[in-house]
Amino acid sequence: MSGFRQISFDAIIVGGGGAGMRAALQLSQSGFRTAVLSKVFPTRSHTVSAQGGITCAIASADPEDDWRWHMYDTVKGSDYIGDQDAIEYMCMEGPQTVYELEHMGLPFSRTANGRIYQRPFGGQSKNFGKGGQAARTCAAADRTGHALLHALYQGNLKNDTVFLNEWYVIDLVVNQDGAVSGVTAVNIEDGEVCFVAAAATVLATGGAGRIYASTTNALINTGDGVAMCLRAGFPAQDMEMWQFHPTGIHGAGTLVTEGCRGEGGYLINRDGERFMERYAPNAKDLAGRDVVARAMVLEVLEGRGCGEQGDHVMLKLDHLGADVLNSKLPGILELSRTFAHVDPIREPIPVVPTCHYMMGGIPTNIHGQALTRNEAGEDEAVPGLFAAGEAACVSVHGANRLGGNSLLDLVVFGRAAGKHIDELLQQGMQARQAAPEDVDRALSRLRRLDTSSEGENTAALREELQSIMQLHFGVFRTGEFMREGIAKLEALKPRIENSHLADKSATFNTARIEALELENLFAVAEATAIAAEGRDESRGAHARDDFRERDDDNWLCHSLYFPEKRKIGKREVNFRPNVVDTFQPKARTY
């Protein structure tokens, strides 16, 4: 393909959410020419929807709090396949990272003595699980993601980061040595196609919740970065691990923060019973999200669901009183009134477990370097490629993420990637040369769509994909049923590969973007399906009816999905933290 322009930067960040903007900030502050390519104006990124807060041991609510306790909770929450070097780094660096956000202007809620307000969240404990419930989630009311994303955008404006807003990245440009030279991208506004070259390319494209029919995720969460890696032949890790958030609003999918239960709300079934007392006698409604989501589904399956269809449960908040709800959970009042037509001050909110978070993603080390496997079966960094945030799998969440740890993951590892790239650039890292055919390859799917003359259109195909995933790869899974799902995906694949773009216009063509996104959704869905079928045990969010127990002998490891073979392999979990002793796997109860 001829006629594309080349633009060059020291570093490019794909995605303008929390991870991307934190990485960009680090590099802009050091004076490197840094560009953020975002398919939406940055404050429209999905980080904006995070509500409850950012978890870390700043010792405001409890002066004795300790990052090691946070680390213990996170390792346990991950069902022991979170990497302990990464979790240690995140929990230890967390406080400094949060202070930096505060110094940047993030309007945290405050305690009487002027410190940052912290609320209890699920899976939190004091003293390594022995000291009862902790309150460790730093909050700006129930709009923490919004406050954080805007503060980061403001910080980047101040530091002159270049923003290529409403640019859609099509694919990675990989050269003959397997190094990443940059990306191909289209300026959505005028349709211009460019090769954006850089010494470092950071994928911070967020999650892919839109592979499911029912999700808390924004419409833009289509797994673009993970899919780009898969198309380039790089592996994806732990793709079977999807978090179903216990409290999505029934029918709408909109998120209701775990902070509701942190502030004292609880779930009830049709009999008005606080059923979590039976499933998690100690932590009750603040058990791990996977535990609560499964309990809710079981209540419904056993006939104790609410509503005419008996297909949901209720989240009760009215006993907290109007004052607490107005000051601590104002956004939840708004969302409930809009989407559930209930006023939580007086009545409970109908809720149902809803796809929320991708624990898996692009495997990286703690410096954000994307990893692949060499021929000897060892980890190897992909030259020029980095990832951070939900798109990455570093892995701090393992098989189940704790609430409030996603915002922390974003800023800690966005910052870590920025710092590492900073060092590499100081040492003289240069952009890798790409040949014209390398760029051409990264434009092939755009070219196919732009010359398509027949085929099905995007919306119907997307809906079909989402219902397959919802039905066959939900909260509870079985091998046979998943294999049926995989067969359906195989039948869908050629139809998506031959989809038709009727509108070929250049100006703000959202039909073109949605067609490109659909291919990404499919790539992520396929990886999820194959990894889920392959892991024959139950661990964290991955619950199999045909393999109900955790199998540490065979599966105390990451899964690694190889796109070319369409098979999974195994990768060791890191059990070697630098400062503390290893947390050994034990039975996980709450």
């Binding site: 700043i58 110094h103 202007g105 309007p107 809620s109 410190r115 919004h146 969302l335 100006t507």
Partner: protein, 238 residues
């Protein structure tokens, strides 16, 4: 199922010499109240060339501000019943006063330029403490009703003063954000910020029309914030 009539503003500069209204009928499930965005998505499934921005679909990202039956609002949190009334007819146009790129997508450059003009970041040149800067709950409360802005542009594009002077009047969204930093106990640039606003246009073009207040999808009150800035400017002048 029930029928919804939609009239959508269509303009693709590659094909159209001037904008037109396109009438469409969409079958909507009758069992629940859809949001305007849901109806648009159904329309787009029929005609994929219909163009608009959207992201969070829950009223926090600010992408889908548009003019809905004559009033600016977010499509994703405006119920069909409220917007279209018993006639079940939706009329969707782009936010007024800005150049149209295509259909319901406007060029927000001027809006963002005015936002950037107010230096929307905390200014405090003191070396930060080892922990967070302290702020009392009372000081923090002063930011409520200000920091929640989602930059959807519904207010600014409903403001006649902005339509008239989009290059010189900062507009309600930008001024709300300006006051968000003026009101922050941690910000030390009050004098500098006020000096940059102290001209006949930046603030004083506000005529108290209050369209901004009536359309803000987050229930914020830019007019009140502008009044506070005005008072600060007047006090400083005496």
């Amino acid at each position: 199922m029930s029928q919804v009539l939609i009239s959508i503003y269509r303009y693709n500069p590659e094909q159209d010499s001037k904008p037109r209204m396109q009438n469409l009928e969409v079958e909507a499930p009758g069992d629940r109240d859809l949001m305007v965005l849901d109806v648009l998505e159904l329309a787009k499934a029929k005609d994929p060339s219909i163009t608009y921005r959207r992201s969070c679909r829950e009223g926090v990202c600010g992408s889908d501000g548009m003019n809905i039956n004559g009033v600016n609002g977010l499509a994703c949190i405006t119920p069909l019943s409220k917007a279209a009334g018993p006639a079940r007819k939706l009329v969707l146009r782009p936010l007024p006063g800005l150049p149209v790129i295509r259909d319901l997508v406007v060029d927000l450059s001027q809006f963002y330029e005015q936002f950037e003009k107010i230096k929307p970041w905390l200014i405090n040149d003191e070396p930060p403490p080892a922990i967070e800067r302290l702020q009392s709950p009372e000081e923090r409360e002063k930011l409520d009703g200000l920091y929640e802005c989602i930059l959807c542009a519904c207010c600014t594009t409903s403001c006649p003063s902005f339509w008239w002077n989009p290059d010189k009047f900062v507009g309600p969204a930008g001024l709300l954000q300006s006051y968000r930093f003026l009101a922050d106990s941690r910000d030390e640039a009050t004098a500098e910020r006020l000096a940059e606003l102290d001209d006949p246009f930046s603030v004083f073009r506000c005529r108290g029309i209050m369209n901004c207040v009536s359309v803000c999808p987050k229930g914020l009150n830019p007019t009140r914030a502008i009044g506070k800035i005005r008072n600060m400017l007047v006090e400083q002048g005496t």
